[in-house]
């Protein structure tokens, strides 16, 4: 295979394009004209309240209220996780747990609930399961979305539109509707097929692949990435083709690096969905060692129930806190990506 001699140069050209367009704010994920970000709004905006003298004050009061309504339940979770049993039972309720008041005294550690929750169920194993399912599911979705999107954006095929309609149909069939037949398929149909074809029995019940495989095909991701791929500068891609670059090389060396922002956005959205998945893992797991975090805490909640909230809140933190940390780091990517996906329609 002739190696294109000047591909590196072309790639640099492509990289240049990405950098410059990022300065200009042209690259995905937010190609909505005139609405690049909230900063764009610093221009005078004649909304509802700007002219009323005390409008600003009302605005700040309402905003504080809104923030409080959204934050208090999360605060209640976090503070609850540090409350001792007596504090949980206290009426009126305790707002600041003793463990925080005494945070600086050496003997008050305050992590008792976390230790108890960690010992009440195999949370180490739950984490491992969730991580495996999330990693495999996200990687699978990204792989499928990139390849399919590239094919639909750049490759010729007779009756391509018809295959595209197949993807549209898939978009309209939610996983909730196919839970039961998938359960039967993964449980008994695969066992029958494998024992008659291979001579031994395979089942997807209570396995990792059984949990993530039904969720790695993606229509949404394909549409999102195809849109992004089509907005890439054609001249650069055509030039690389004329240099003799294969499609696989083009996808790997140019299209993917140039679409990094949208890939990160989509990867994050996909990872969040896999991390939080509940119905399917609930149905398909059998033993406690195979449960992901979501199913794990729901069983813990079913047994510990409404008696020992401190421990249950600590367990809830195990599920929620990693996502909050990721969100704090990447909220721009997620919010802009979702807003762009909607307004582009």
């Amino acid at each position: 295979m002739p190696r294109p001699t000047s591909l590196r140069g072309l790639r640099r050209l492509a990289g240049d394009h990405v950098d410059r367009s990022r300065q200009l704010g042209v690259v995905a994920p937010a190609p909505v004209p005139g609405s690049r970000s909230l900063d764009a709004l610093e221009r005078p905006n004649r909304g509802l309240m700007t002219r009323i003298p005390f409008g600003k004050i009302v605005g700040y009061i309402l905003m504080t209220l809104l923030a409080a309504v959204m934050a208090i339940p999360l605060y209640w979770m976090l503070s609850g996780a540090f409350k001792e049993y007596a504090e949980i039972r206290a009426i009126p309720p305790v707002w600041v747990p003793d463990a925080w008041r005494n945070a600086f005294s050496p003997d008050a550690l305050g992590f008792g609930n976390f230790v108890e929750a960690w010992n009440a169920a195999p949370f180490g194993r739950f984490y491992l399961n969730t991580l495996i399912i999330t990693a495999a599911g996200t990687a699978g979705e990204l792989f499928n979305a990139c390849l399919t999107a590239y094919a639909f954006a750049f490759l010729r095929f007779p009756k391509k539109d018809l295959i595209f309609v197949l993807l549209l149909v898939a978009l309209m069939i939610p996983g909730e509707v196919t839970t039961l037949p998938n359960y039967i398929f993964i449980g008994s149909t695969i066992r029958e097929i494998s024992s008659s074809l291979l001579g031994f029995e395979i089942t997807g019940i209570n396995t990792y692949w059984g949990i993530f495989l039904p969720a790695v095909s993606t229509a949404y991701g394909t549409f999102l990435l195809r849109q992004a791929f089509l907005s890439l500068p054609r001249e650069v891609l055509e030039a690389a083709r004329l240099e003799g670059a294969s499609h696989i090389r083009l996808l790997w060396d140019m299209v993917i690096p140039m679409s990094k922002p949208i890939l990160i956005t989509y990867g994050l959205i996909s990872a969040v969905a896999h991390w939080n998945a509940y119905l399917w893992p609930l149905v398909v797991t059998r033993t406690i060692e195979m449960r992901p975090l979501t199913v794990g805490i729901s069983y813990l909640f079913d047994t510990e129930g409404n008696t020992n909230y401190g421990v249950v809140m600590a367990a809830t933190c195990f599920v929620v806190l990693p996502l909050i940390l990721v969100y704090i780091w990447a909220q721009r990517f997620i919010i802009d990506g979702i807003a762009a996906g909607a307004t582009k329609g």
Partner: protein, 318 residues
């Protein structure tokens, strides 16, 4: 539908000069765009066939048979499962709960989401932070969120009991009473999802051309008139998108119901998806579960088709 954007392939004949004819034939097949297209598309489509298209067809078959997951065969019973569902008071109760839950949850998230977006569209400090904050619950596990709210609703030691006592009101039984349980699950859904509606509306508001507002001002329109005559109609397609996504989201809302109420008390909060789960996996009645899933699918399909129709008409006249 698919724009013709294929990249022109360079003459692959030039490649063949250094290799034997047989190799080149193999290579040509392998490098031909059609083969590559299939290779690229196949993993996705095969998985869809196994886990989406086929299960839907199989679900139709299941809904026409009766099976308890144990017997070797699944006797065909025609439309008996559907007949049973449509003649049972329990199922109509489920449909009623689904409707109330959907209207309450969608109405709440749309109204509060739009209000929040209008607020955050003002030139206020910290609004980027507040936007990030109200969006956060959208990403958190519905199971985890519901467990936290269960504690908040607790009529003995919960946060709501305390807050209501500040204004001298006794705490309602929340999850213990059929009507209050519905209110509770709607509150949790709205709290979790209003940030999504707000972010979409905010993007829509920022897309409205500023000169429209200036023209309205020149004509002497006050703030309320500007909202009614400029903002509201300009958000046309956004309203629609938020509505449809929220309706579909509510119809698929399983984790909140399962964790907070388990469909109770006395089935008051059993929505269609929870009923499907209950029939399939708790009562082990595959036929009824599949029939219920078909009805859920039909409802969602109608919503999607209405969306498609209306958005198509919009683009025609736009």
């Amino acid at each position: 539908m698919v724009p013709q954007t294929e990249l022109s392939a360079p003459g692959s004949a030039t490649v063949a000069t250094t290799v034997t004819p047989r190799q080149s034939a193999v290579r040509r097949v392998f490098r031909s765009e059609h083969t590559l297209f299939l290779l690229f598309v196949l993993p996705n489509l095969v998985l869809f066939s196994i886990f989406t298209y086929w299960p839907l067809i199989y679900n139709v078959y299941l809904s026409l048979s009766t099976w308890n997951f144990l017997t070797p065969d699944k006797p065909f019973v025609g439309l008996d499962n559907f007949r049973f569902l449509f003649s049972s008071a329990e199922f109509w109760g489920v449909m009623r709960s689904t409707a109330i839950y959907t209207v309450g949850a969608v109405g709440g998230s749309v109204l509060l989401g739009l209000s929040a977006a209008l607020l955050l569209n003002q030139k206020l400090r910290f609004r980027t932070g507040v936007r990030a904050m109200i969006f956060a619950p959208t990403l958190l596990s519905g199971v985890a969120i519901s467990i936290v709210w269960f504690y908040i609703f607790d009529p003995r030691v919960g946060l709501f009991r305390e807050m209501l006592s500040w204004i001298g009101v006794a705490s309602p039984p929340w999850l213990g009473d059929p009507d209050w349980a519905m209110v509770s699950v709607i509150i949790v859904y709205v709290w979790k999802n209003l940030g999504f509606a707000a972010v979409i509306y905010l993007a829509g508001l920022q897309g409205i051309p500023k000169d429209l507002y200036e023209a309205a001002k020149v004509d002497g329109a006050n703030a309320i008139q500007r909202f009614r005559d400029v903002t509201w109609p300009q958000l046309g397609s956004i309203h629609f998108f938020v509505m449809v996504t929220s309706i579909l989201g509510t119809l698929q809302s399983f984790d909140i119901i399962r964790t907070l109420t388990g469909g109770g008390p006395v089935d008051a909060t059993t929505n269609l998806i929870y009923y499907t789960y209950e029939q399939s996996f708790i009562n082990s009645n595959a036929g009824r579960g599949a029939a219920s899933a078909m009805i859920l699918f039909a409802v969602m399909l109608v919503v999607t088709i209405v969306q498609y129709r209306i958005s198509e008409r919009r683009t025609h006249y736009a």
